[in-house]
Symmetry: C2
Subunit: 424 residues, 2 copies
């Protein structure tokens, strides 16, 4: 494995207090970050990172990579039309092999815009895994689960998820359990997933309280909110990742905080599908672990985390009419470090001695960042993702000077083009 | 002047009905767009625009280009601190010559992200004009005016504005009158500006109803809203451009519609400074001419119109919980064609026979745009500005294949770096 000595770079560090930048030499030894120089005789490449910002790769905590083929495919239409007439018919007819190429397209966009780790929820056996593995991106892959009984109608998917875990789990690939939502999974199945997660030491991710319809149906059917419902069946704990959480009522946020579950906010998707704005200021005040997700490209329409970060802060400043709401350091931490908390992997999302080298290199001379008056502000308020020049994951470059090293972009476009032509 | 035949491109056209794309050969003859082939013997260069989208350049209808040096300089601070402790002290001490370089930095960012025309409000004699002229960008330049009497305390600025108009007015440079706001200009001065605008055939731009403070002060001082106040003194007409219009009350929007004035919405700035969200859905329903502005980099923090366009739609979808609010075709039209209406220049903002060639070329294979399921959606929901490869203004390329042809970026950075070091 290649070692690196990275000189002259501006490093974004976080030690549990404030985020800060410093100019510092960084060493990548056996895929890990260290500040200790190499011993004599050790081989390494020297990288001059002058006028580059080196920061932890972004962690996209909720997406559906295979949906990238549906980018800009169903916009400005009512939600029911979006789901039932546009998205679902495509999903129902998509050949399983196609999901490899469409996932690769999403991974390609994520790498180019500085994401080094993503949490996926999908319905294709092996395709996302295969794409993530070949691309060399860190991924937490969750097979979508629905139905009445995990060991009957849900069994083939669940079994395949465990097989994939057995076969492919690695330094960069982990597997999680992803029951789709409380309205597509029975109480029984959710309890079974919870038990299976404990038994197999897996994280759980679920869509929760995304729309008013979900909230109202749950209130009607169970006499409680989706959060109360999940809590009452014992589903919520610190290994639970809750995507959306837009429609928070009563003591919902208290419950989430007390169980230690993570919330992934998906501001563009919630906006685009008419679901409104999650109460992020309260989540922040309460100290809930909040992460950032792009959701899939059919509901965003980009997997660019920098777009999401800026949107997140500005949306909440506008909505609360408070220019101090959701400041840039909170945003950058949510998109990096908080992912490591949610994923119970303290070695990602931060630049420190011993952390794995998931790093992105941004051009500080990009017109969006210059002059460099405040790096955290820049990442949140003016960056657009195109500043990312190089991406290292687990100590290996997957993009260098904008050249993708693990993905054949031309081939991916060719294959996705054919799939789109046939299926959309 | 060089002529061009542009083949294989995808052209975004608008003829007063729907925006649409078509593959079509475009000819640029004497700086103007035509669909008529060249006569035999005419000289021209052939450009292969295969896999490129050719669309009208974006029109940034409200900015302060010289403020780009303050990008990411004052964020997440209360408005009063932002204005009085951060921005104003810098402006007060900035040497007038510095504004040339800081304006050029803003123009550089605008060109790189596809803006071919901007409306500026500034306080430096000649510097913005000089920068715009050298860069070859189309600009409507407004000298900021404040005070009691245009012919006494406001006279030197006003006189300089007229001199500049006399000296520099051209195909691409126009001059407008820009009284700063109702709280920095007396009623007398505003009436004088209105008369002078008529006499000198100039447009007027003013900040209006931006903050709650402005609204409440106006209600207290005049017993009417800022819009009513301006209307009652006869200031509003179809040659008036109103920046912000966030705090709309009672019949404010009816008044604006009836006078034919244009509103420039500045969604990022309004969010960042805690001013909230303009009632864009009502403006749209009422058929008011709405344009898009970035405001200055101190309150945005980028002059990237694509960021602004996406934000504008998503912000209003979230705020209204309506996934049909402010669709992509409305956004693209607001950022192009509506600018031509506001500026009373029907030859810009649209690709049609006889229009001036203010064109931008986007890479349809950019990861943010691929697959190309819907171009208008892409421009609004997934583009980030980095897709812009070439920019033509008034028939001349100012950027080609990402190379700036009229601006020496290295020199601009060097000079702005020195200015920032000394003044921030």
């Amino acid at each position: 494995m290649k070692n690196y000595k990275i000189i002259n770079g501006t490093i974004l560090t976080y030690g549990g207090e404030a985020m800060m930048t410093e100019e510092k030499t960084l060493y990548i030894k056996e895929g890990k970050i260290t500040f200790e120089p190499f011993a004599q005789g050790e081989e390494y490449e020297v990288i001059d990172a002058g006028r580059k910002l080196i920061m932890p790769g972004l962690i996209n905590m909720h997406t559906h990579a295979y949906m990238t083929m549906m980018r800009n495919y169903a916009d400005d239409v009512p939600f029911q039309e979006w789901l039932f007439q546009r998205v679902m018919p495509v999903e129902d007819n998509l050949p399983v092999e196609a999901a490899y190429w469409t996932s690769m397209l999403g991974i390609l966009e994520m790498i180019r815009t500085g994401t080094t780790c993503f949490t996926d929820m999908h319905m294709y056996h092996r395709q996302v895994t295969q794409a993530a593995r070949e691309a060399g991106i860190r991924a937490y892959i969750g097979r979508g689960l629905v139905g009445e009984d995990l060991y009957q109608d849900g069994y083939s998917r669940f079994k395949q998820a465990l097989e994939e875990k057995e076969e492919f789990q690695s330094d960069t690939l982990q597997f999680i359990l992803s029951p789709h939502a409380i309205y597509t999974c029975s109480e029984k199945l959710l309890k079974q997933v919870d038990e299976a997660a404990g038994e197999h030491r897996m994280l759980k991710q679920i869509h929760l309280s995304e729309s008013m319809t979900e909230l109202n149906d749950c209130l009607n059917n169970h006499g409680k909110t989706p959060v109360q419902y999940l809590n009452d069946i014992g589903f919520l704990d610190e290994k639970t990742i809750l995507a959306h959480c837009v429609q928070m009522q009563g003591d919902d946020l208290d419950i989430i905080r007390n169980t230690g579950a993570t919330i992934v906010t998906n501001v563009a998707s919630n906006a685009k599908l008419g679901n409104g704005i999650a109460p992020l200021s309260q989540m922040k005040e309460m100290g809930i672990n909040v992460c950032v997700g792009t959701d899939g490209a059919a509901s965003n329409n980009t997997l660019n985390m920098f777009r999401e970060m800026g949107l997140l802060s500005l949306m909440h400043k506008a909505h609360t009419r408070d220019c101090l709401a959701i400041p840039s350091d909170y945003i950058v931490k949510a998109a990096t470090y908080n992912g490591s908390v949610a994923l119970h992997n303290p070695d990602i999302g931060v630049i420190r001695e011993g952390a794995v080298a998931d790093l992105i290199f941004l051009n500080l001379d990009a017109p969006s960042l210059f002059p460099n008056n405040n790096i955290l502000s820049a990442l949140c308020y003016s960056a657009n993702g195109s500043e990312v020049e190089s991406v290292m994951i687990n100590g290996k470059f997957v993009m260098r000077d904008r050249q993708l090293l693990t993905i054949d972009q031309e081939r991916v476009y060719y294959e996705v083009g054919k799939i789109v032509e046939k299926n959309l």
